[in-house]
């Protein structure tokens, strides 16, 4: 459980901002018919920050991610992207991979000619990332034949290969063991340090998050009830 002394109000949702803000949420609320999925969330997300969103199932993590990424407009309040040209990539809970395509073909979806000089540059990045996650020799496997772990890695790599400024991950390591989850976090952490990648990671696995460094917000019933550093969980 959370240390009560750290369970503070929303003012501390700004805690630990490293640099300038990239996203601000101003009293954001989301209602689905009569269900209140999020209520009056007020927070800022800094550029190059690692933010964990925790909470039990149905706490509003996915809704908050969707609101932050612009996929879901809030029913009240305002979400402001302070760098309008920032590219945001999402790793969805359902992964959204093309089942009949190979892992490589799915990764190719991220090949953007406006950010890569040529295909070789993209392939170089793809192989490098694939080596880190140890999936290089499985890139020719079709997604429908791949296991859950491989699928999650492909989904994460696809998002990373799009060279985003902000990456949103919704339970990205649910099918992975601790070692693989650690590897993914290390990769994200590396990109965060080297490239200033902003990472917003939703997970209900507090044990996993405890081992990482970053800011954390905890949701319960659509309310933000805690903000602090991950290591303080």
């Amino acid at each position: 459980m959370f240390d009560q002394s750290k369970t503070i109000n929303q003012k501390n949702a700004h805690y630990g901002l490293k640099s300038g803000k990239i996203l601000t949420l101003d009293n954001v609320g989301v209602n689905f018919k009569n269900f209140n999925a999020l209520s009056t969330i007020q927070m800022d997300i800094g550029q190059g920050e690692i933010l964990f969103i925790t909470g039990a199932s149905g706490a509003g993590k996915t809704t908050l991610l969707r609101v932050l990424s612009g996929q879901l407009p809030p029913t009240k309040g305002r979400v402001q992207l302070l760098r309008p040209n920032a590219h945001m990539a999402l790793v969805f809970q359902d992964l959204r991979l093309m089942e009949n395509y190979t892992c490589e073909m799915n990764l190719m979806m991220a090949y953007d000619t406006s950010i890569y000089k040529n295909k070789n540059e993209f392939i170089y990045d793809m192989i490098e990332f694939a080596n880190v996650l140890k999936i290089r020799n499985r890139l020719n496997l079709k997604i429908k034949d791949a296991n859950g772990g491989l699928k999650q890695k492909v989904a994460i790599l696809r998002a990373l290969l799009s060279r985003p400024d902000v990456i949103f991950l919704d339970e990205p390591t649910s099918s992975l063991d601790q070692e693989n989850a650690q590897k993914i976090f290390e990769l994200l952490n590396f990109l965060n340090v080297k490239k200033g990648l902003t990472v917003i990671w939703a997970s209900h696995d507090r044990d996993l998050i405890r081992s990482f460094s970053g800011r954390i917000i905890h949701l319960d019933g659509g309310r933000l009830i805690h903000a602090g550093h991950a290591c303080f969980i």
Binding site: L90, R96, D112, S162
Partner: protein, 248 residues
Amino acid sequence: MKGFGFVFLCGLFILVLLAQNIVNDFLESKFAKKDYFSYFYVLMSSSENHEDVVRKLRDLAEIKQIETLNQAVIAKEVKKILSELDVNTLSPMLNLEYVGFKIIFGLKTSIRSQQLVREYVERLVDKKNLILGDIKDNISEKKDQEDFLIQKSHFIYPSILLMVIGLWLVFFISLKKTLSRIAYLVEQYQRRRQVLLKTLLIGVGSWLVFFILIFSFIPQVNHLNAVGVIILVLFMIVGGFKKNMWES
């Protein structure tokens, strides 16, 4: 593979829609023999030098074709007529050996020329051994046959169209989900917007422009169908793919 099939069918669909008049004209020309001509029959005794007569007639510019009638059929018909008249066809005095020809005039042969040819035949063959038919034309007899066939041909175009639409729809439906999903992913992971709309407009639109350009040189193009195609394509693109979502 499906994608190539769809692109091919898009082209075929547009082609069939635009070329309605051309297809119909082609079918009508296939079914309707427009070689209206005049002709008359010549029946002469086989004792006459009919080969010489035929050769002389063939030399005439007005004659398009001379068809030799089947001798056995002629003999059968003559016997039938004579037996109806109670004439003993076995009589050695009766000569039943006839040769028959159908003399067909060229298309622009005047009535006067046709009469002159007929008179020429009368001069070439002894009148006793010759029976000439009246000059007829095949317009009326062909017309009924043609009308029937043309009516039949009117079902062929809609059948082709239905078949192409059916195939196109099968490919369209099977590809719709994949196309939507790919476009969605491209939008998510590349810095692009309205991917599906642009893809379809470029893909289907270029086919459309290609065919319209080609058909603009052909007067028979069905302009109404061309407008229909444009509306259909726009409706399909704007309406059919409005929900560019993964779930759709």
